[in-house]
């Protein structure tokens, strides 16, 4: 399994897209953190809540990682490399597991980079501005840890979607539409019949609950539901891949 995870790393770093993803995370998180600092009221600076908001800017890494997760699988079909991949590793479930493990590692790395970038942007801005510096304590460390886990779950969620859908266009567009449109639509419809709470169990909202951005579940429940979705999608994807004909 170590070899398969290492092979995923080689695949990732030997195309130009890898640098693009890293730059996207740096740019989006940097802009997000700058926007948070620049838009803060003077009274908010130096508070624990403000530090929380700065760390939240790193959540964009999770979105990028989800896309990387989808593309890491669907590009195998798009470019026909899946044939060679399954010739080297005919037990296909092992390939899916390796991709899940690899994306979890990448997600953790990118989320940490994003957190560092968000903190650095805020610290530098505040010091130049002469404003009170960022307050970081144990609760912020716990929150940062949760954001890393959110990115890991989003990444694994992406691999599951990619394995199940396989068409790159449908998987990427479908995931975006699902999170931005379908879940909100379902929430709206269920709220009309006083059952809006059910929508909190949808994957995007469960992950939001876990990340503490929105959603009606507790942090723990959100994490459990999101992990359940990740496992279910991964298992379904692995089942599909293990049974399908290649070529």
């Amino acid at each position: 399994m170590t070899r398969l995870v290492a092979a995923e790393l080689v695949k990732f770093r030997t195309t130009r897209a890898a640098m693009g993803y890293l730059l996207a995370v740096l740019a989006l998180v940097g802009l997000g953190a700058a926007g948070t600092v620049g838009g803060a009221k003077p009274a908010e600076l130096g508070t624990s809540g403000f530090s929380h908001d700065v760390l939240s800017a790193s959540v964009v890494a999770a979105i990028v990682v989800c896309l990387v997760g989808i593309i890491s699988v669907t590009s195998e079909w798009r470019h026909g490399t899946v044939t060679r991949t399954f010739l080297v590793t005919p037990r296909r479930v092992r390939v899916v597991v390796a991709k899940e493990l690899w994306i979890a590692l990448l997600a953790a790395f990118l989320a940490l980079v994003a957190l560092v970038v968000a903190i650095l942007v805020a610290v530098i801005w505040l010091s130049i501005d002469g404003s009170p510096s960022l307050v970081l304590g144990p609760e912020h460390a716990r929150y940062a840890g949760r954001l890393v886990l959110v990115a890991v779950l989003w990444g694994m969620f992406g691999v599951g979607i990619g394995t199940l859908v396989q068409s790159q266009t449908f998987a990427v567009v479908g995931a975006v539409i699902w999170v931005l449109l379908v879940e909100n639509l379902v929430l709206g419809l269920l709220t009309l019949v006083d059952a809006g709470g059910i929508a909190d169990y949808l994957p995007g909202r469960a992950l939001s609950s876990f990340g503490g951005t929105e959603g009606g579940l507790s942090t723990g429940a959100g994490g459990v539901v999101a992990a359940g979705w990740v496992l279910a999608l991964g298992a379904l994807g692995a089942w599909r891949v293990s049974r399908q004909d290649i070529g």
Partner: protein, 293 residues
């Protein structure tokens, strides 16, 4: 050794492979021929565990592909040109496979050298010609120094020099005791490369045997040069006789019969040779004239 036993595969209403059985043995290059849509690629993919048979099965070295301990060391496969990511260099493509299979980087350089791609190894695969992509596919297939090779149309896109190189490579690999199963539509090339031939049509086995035996299946002609050609034509009666531009006769009788007739009637012969049918003749005869692709 590759064994295909009662392999059947259906795609919806299309029966791609129908109860197909044959064996490709070590030390031989076995040609796998059939018209377009005959089921060659499906069969090769079933052998390699990429396609699930509806019934029957396949084995390599006595085991199903997916049950092989280290598939890349047992079987080298070349199925399609262009199974590399277009944005990845040839060398990095091989390195991803080598990493997954536990093959050393030194071996990557060896196979690049073997397929004469070292000079282009840093270039991204999307800039490769079809012939270069074929060579890269071969390099990937040879990465594990396998005992068995399965190749689907490996000569596609190769120039004449490349085809000769491929022919020599396959012959040398077979001479080392490896099993080589190769599908091709270039029948002239196959005839120069293979020891045995498996011909399928509509997913069913039409003929399997040694190349020479298969070629002998066509009637062929007996070529005769004689100063008394007119008398010989009378003697062979209603057999088909064609007078060639150089004055020789092509007679559709076995050489033994022509020789006996000439001797019994005192006809002097200056030449008596046999012209066998080509593999293409046999192929067209056995497959009803379908295109050999």
């Amino acid at each position: 050794m590759i064994e295909v036993a009662g392999l059947t595969k259906r795609y919806g209403s299309v029966l791609a492979v129908d109860d197909l059985s044959f064996v490709a043995r070590p030390g031989l290059v076995t040609g796998f021929l059939g018209p377009n849509g005959a089921g060659k690629s499906t069969t090769l993919r079933a052998i390699l565990g990429l396609v699930r048979p509806d019934s029957g099965g396949t084995s390599i070295l006595g085991r199903r592909y997916r049950d092989l301990e280290a598939p890349i060391h047992a079987v080298g496969a070349v199925l399609e040109a262009g199974d590399a990511h277009p944005g990845r260099s040839g060398r990095n493509h091989l390195r991803t496979l080598a990493t997954a299979a536990g093959v050393s980087r030194g071996r990557v350089e060896e196979v690049l050298e073997l397929v004469e791609l070292t000079g282009a190894a840093r270039r991204r695969a999307k800039g490769y010609s079809l012939g270069m992509r074929q060579r890269l596919g071969l390099a990937a297939g040879l990465l594990g120094d396998p005992q068995v090779l399965v190749l689907d149309e490996p000569a596609n896109g190769l120039d004449p020099q490349g085809i000769r190189w491929l022919r020599d490579l396959l012959r040398s690999l077979a001479a080392e005791g490896r099993t080589v199963l190769v599908s091709s539509h270039v029948l002239a090339e196959v005839a120069q490369t293979v020891d045995e031939v498996v011909i399928i049509r509509h997913g069913r086995l039409v003929r399997h045997g040694k190349l020479a035996d298969i070629q002998a299946l066509t009637a062929g002609s007996t070529i005769v040069r004689s100063p008394d050609a007119a008398k010989l034509v009378e003697l062979v009666g209603h057999a088909d006789v064609e007078r060639m531009s150089d004055g020789r006769l092509a007679i559709s009788l076995p050489p033994e019969r022509v020789g006996e007739l000439a001797a019994a009637n005192g006809v002097v012969l200056h030449e008596l040779t046999v012209e066998r049918g080509t593999l293409e003749d046999v192929f067209l005869e056995l497959t009803g004239g379908d295109d050999p692709t």
